[in-house]
Chain length 271, copies 4
């Protein structure tokens, strides 16, 4: 965006239009209208009565968004440049999918796509985009702890299925069900009253399985959270490097003062 | 409050009265009495037997509070000055509403107003007022993350209503119900046992919706909390700016020492 | 304990005995035995069979603890000195109460007292005593926020009782019940599924009450927690004052260098 | 591992093989296959149909792991050196147990052992091993607070059993059940709706027991968590010592400047 000078004039003009405050505001308003439309569609009476109106509104909004993204794409220095930004990918796919699935029979898929267009509010408002970028940035640092979590989940799920398959088919009927149940247990939701107690009545040693999973699971989840906190606090405290700089600064200063002292001692006094 | 000198004498005297320890203590005691009265009113037997006594007590308390606020208002340099403080607005509205609704048929509204007068304890006790000010101050900094939360809530609510309207009318019957249900889910209260499991039995893919919402929702709520923590820690660590100052200080000092060195070298030695 | 020299010889010897490692270890073992005895007593079969044995064991333990505390008291420089330590008060009351209630008919009170004696493990093990002291120390700093919490609880309880008394007598039947229910709601336990939903079906606006209480309540509780964290982090970071000192140090140093510069300029050059 | 030079040549070669990237990758793949095999075994239809295939796969995997660990053991400078690493103990026991129990009738024990082999993924991937080491390292620092927690749990469990044995045999029937119930209460799971409310209806004072346990329990658990956070933050902030160094540095520098000043004053001016 910084090397506009080398772009053809029409690209520059388009770039100015696309980055204009009014353009962005208009897009935000259209996204809001889109949000209201998909909200109203959820009321069955309204939907059946004004079905064609909703359809038309959706078509118009989709085409406006298509034109908007086409303009953005044309304003970009190159296709490659446009698609290096993952938010542009997101915008492009959300809108393109609206065209691809238009004739499809999967009405629900199409309707969900319309709702997902509301997510574009994030990609259009710069402060929200930065916030989400910051939130997503904390995820890769947690890769290892999430891998550990997966291993623990998998092992407990396999053991849970083996042990409680017959006793509690609803919660531990198969590996998928066990994984879902363990996710419920790690959020501490009804882990005792609904999941453990009925099994506990038949298998009195089963508390060992649940208590150990709750302890291990919450401990790891908690450390995952601490990871995020410490990450954030560290970022806020990168000023500390500055402090380290100060240290070096003072060290060098001291050397200079010592040199100065020797200088005076040797040159001024012994003169 | 600092420019009392230019105020007329009666305003100064009134200001001294209003800021007097005994005045404040008396108001706190009256608020306590108000609290006890509204507490006792909740017992139906007591209320029906001493209805008129309660009514009288309420009238007396309301008029005392009215006089108190009138005194505060008169003691203020000007009307504008009085209403720049939002706590004064709060006090004024709470008491004024007591007069406005007095003849109304909405007995419940009137009774709730009486209870809300207990909140005046916060506006009267300075340390509590400062605490609440500090708590409220953390909210605007969270504007963006709350906006993000709203977008996520809205999108999930619309999708939830679309998908589960027929299956679970109690939880996802319409957009409002879905929003309430999602609020319940984000507090992790019975999200699996009561909300998801019954839907999961009919629509086996529905776990995707709930697990993704729990993950996204708790992640964002958690980051909202971290925002508050980091905010608070930062405030407690504003001393770090001081550290930065130190750095600049040392940098300047070093320059001076270097100048000094050149001075000695050129003037003393080469002399 | 530092001014042993001025104490009579027998007090010094007693002090040495009481602070001896073996003495403390023996007391810890006796507390452990006490813990096991009260644990075994909870089994009805065991208790009815060996009732007199349990009674005898309890009598012996009580008298040993009495002797122990008497020794500690005698070893202390003075009665006043002994009772300035709140842990000594705790020990004294726990053991004295065992004698006071011995003939009483309140068997349950007596048995609970026996169990509470296990808490003496905290007062005897120094590291535990320090930990509990540290935990209790964080409470007074939270005075204001707990006062605010009380006001919020009280107001919501009164309003809740007023509004939902008829609809949900189990949860909001009277002021005490409402306070208990709000405590349950603030822990987020079944606040929606058990408490709100049944009321919500009759009074559709009731979600406002619950959602606002959950938001306000968890926000304040969360800030109460943050207070504790920041308190702890601050303690761990009191080294920062050191940093501030550095700043002042550098400032003074700079002044000295400037003086030095003027000195050289005026005296050496202009000479 | 650093003093390979003094090892016999075959040990060196073996050490190179064992630490080779391909070797480690192969082991990770075999662990993944092991994970998939134990996962598939949980499906009863699959298991009964391919029972012998599963048995063969398990035998082959066990022997490969045995060879792998034997190679690691031979590559180590000595038996003692190998077993000083607790991860090697873990690997050894997991695999050895597979051989020990092979002919046993405890099919479930054997199958659980096979699942636990998946935990070897942690001991093989260095970054995971370091993460788990770091997590486990935080536990000893929490020794005291966990001891305190145990004392509180035990005392509340004994009192709970004494008081509610008859009223709620399901939750407080004996000491073990009470301990399990208290663990459930401390996770705040259905503590009110399922555990307290039924008892509360019969014994109206029972709320005191539960509310005090919830307050004390969550307070201590919360402080346990804070301990971990502060521990982590401290580690991340050990740079602060550096700051302290700066202070000393500046102090010494100041002394030198003062010496310099006196030097100039006495020698240059008074000359």
């Amino acid at each position: 965006m910084k090397n506009h000078k080398k772009l053809p004039v029409w690209k520059q003009k388009l770039g100015q239009l696309v980055e204009n405050r009014w353009f962005t505001s208009s897009v935000i308003i259209l996204i809001l209208i889109n949000a209201i439309v998909v909200g109203l569609e959820t009321y069955p009476n309204l939907y059946s009565e004004y079905k064609s109106a909703f359809w038309t509104a959706d078509r118009i909004l989709l085409w406006i968004f298509t034109v908007e993204i086409a303009l953005r794409l044309l304003a970009a220095p190159s296709l490659k440049h446009f698609f290096t930004n993952s938010w542009n990918w997101f915008d492009f796919i959300i809108v393109a999918a609206g065209h691809v699935f238009v004739g499809a029979h999967f009405v629900t898929v199409l309707r969900i796509l319309r709702v997902l267009r509301v997510f574009r509010a994030i990609s259009v408002v710069p402060s929200l985009r930065r916030l989400v970028d910051a939130l997503l940035m904390t995820i890769p640092a947690l890769g290892n702890i999430m891998l550990l979590m997966s291993i623990i989940f998998y092992i407990f799920a396999v053991i849970g299925t083996m042990l409680f398959q017959q006793v509690s088919p609803e919660y531990f009927g198969n590996l998928q069900l066990s994984l879902l149940t363990l996710f419920q247990v790690v959020t501490l939701e009804s882990w005792a009253s609904e999941v453990m107690r009925p099994i506990f009545e038949i298998l009195p040693w089963s508390w060992l399985y649940f208590v150990s999973f709750v302890l291990v699971g919450t401990f790891v989840v908690f450390n995952l959270f601490i990871g995020v906190i410490v990450n954030n606090v560290e970022k806020a405290e990168s000023a500390e490097e500055e402090v380290k700089d100060t240290h070096n600064e003072v060290m060098e200063l001291r050397k200079e003062v010592q040199e100065l002292k020797h200088l005076i001692k040797n040159e001024v006094i012994n003169k």
